[in-house]
Amino acid sequence: MSPLLEDGDYALMRRISRRSTIKVGDIVLIAHPKFGDIIKRIGVVTADGYVAEGIAAQSVSAAEIGTVGRDDVLAKLVWRVSPRGVRRVPV
């Protein structure tokens, strides 16, 4: 998720509850069946779930990540803490 998140950054996240809204552009933690716990951006919201994508050219493609269900979206990024400073997200 470079340049938003770099290796060694800490992501402070808010757990997704039943009342949470997940919208396009949200940076979320996904429990992915193939890739494990990954942080990606919501690209598209469909009736079946969410299409997540990376923001760097070399990211795993949205097609590879596939559509994830709401139960797979665990948390939403709120603060990014890096040696470069602390930043609220979305910025």
Partner: protein, 164 residues
């Protein structure tokens, strides 16, 4: 400051890790190179053991030197290829499905080292068998069936091939 505090908490195991990127090129993994290298180790052992019956001289010394060096190289290749697949491809969900992958990878590392240290053919055969087991698990994670067939070159050992 906050990063330092979180870093300390991280070192204490209080922070959960998540990946936010993947390697380039994404998803290109195959056990083929590791198997070819493992079979090559046995081939080198066979050549070295056969060399014992040759008359002493520069030719024999040259033959042994070349094959020992290649055996070393191929055994190291096995270790590298398997480490990359184990370390980069296998992630939490796949490891949960195949919990023996750690022990199997470790066994391959140990056996490949044994192959470097000596020329016991049984070590070479065991290495090929371990890498075959690894390949079967790997292709299973890809949803591909496998078949064991004798490789069409010396030492003609049974090797796992994916049914694509």
């Amino acid at each position: 400051m906050i990063h330092s505090i979180l870093s300390t908490a991280d070192k204490l195991g209080l922070v959960k890790s998540a990946s936010a990127h993947c390697d380039i090129p994404c998803g290109i993994y195959d056990t083929g190179p590791a198997l070819i290298a493992a079979v090559s180790v046995v081939r080198m052992m066979d050549i070295l053991n056969e060399a014992q019956s040759k008359p002493d001289g520069a030719g024999k010394a040259n033959l042994i030197a070349r094959n020992v060096a290649t055996k070393e190289e191929e055994a190291e290749k096995v270790k590298h290829e398997i480490r990359v697949i184990w370390g980069d491809y296998f992630k939490a969900p796949l490891i949960e499905q195949h919990p023996n992958i750690h022990a199997l990878t470790h066994a391959i590392m140990q056996k490949a080292s044994a192959c470097k240290q000596d020329v016991h053919r049984e070590d070479g055969l065991a290495l090929v068998e371990l890498v075959n087991e690894f390949a079967e698990i790997f292709w299973k994670t890809k949803g591909k069936d496998t078949v064991r067939k004798d490789c069409p070159y010396a030492p003609n050992l049974p090797v796992v091939y994916p049914v694509l």
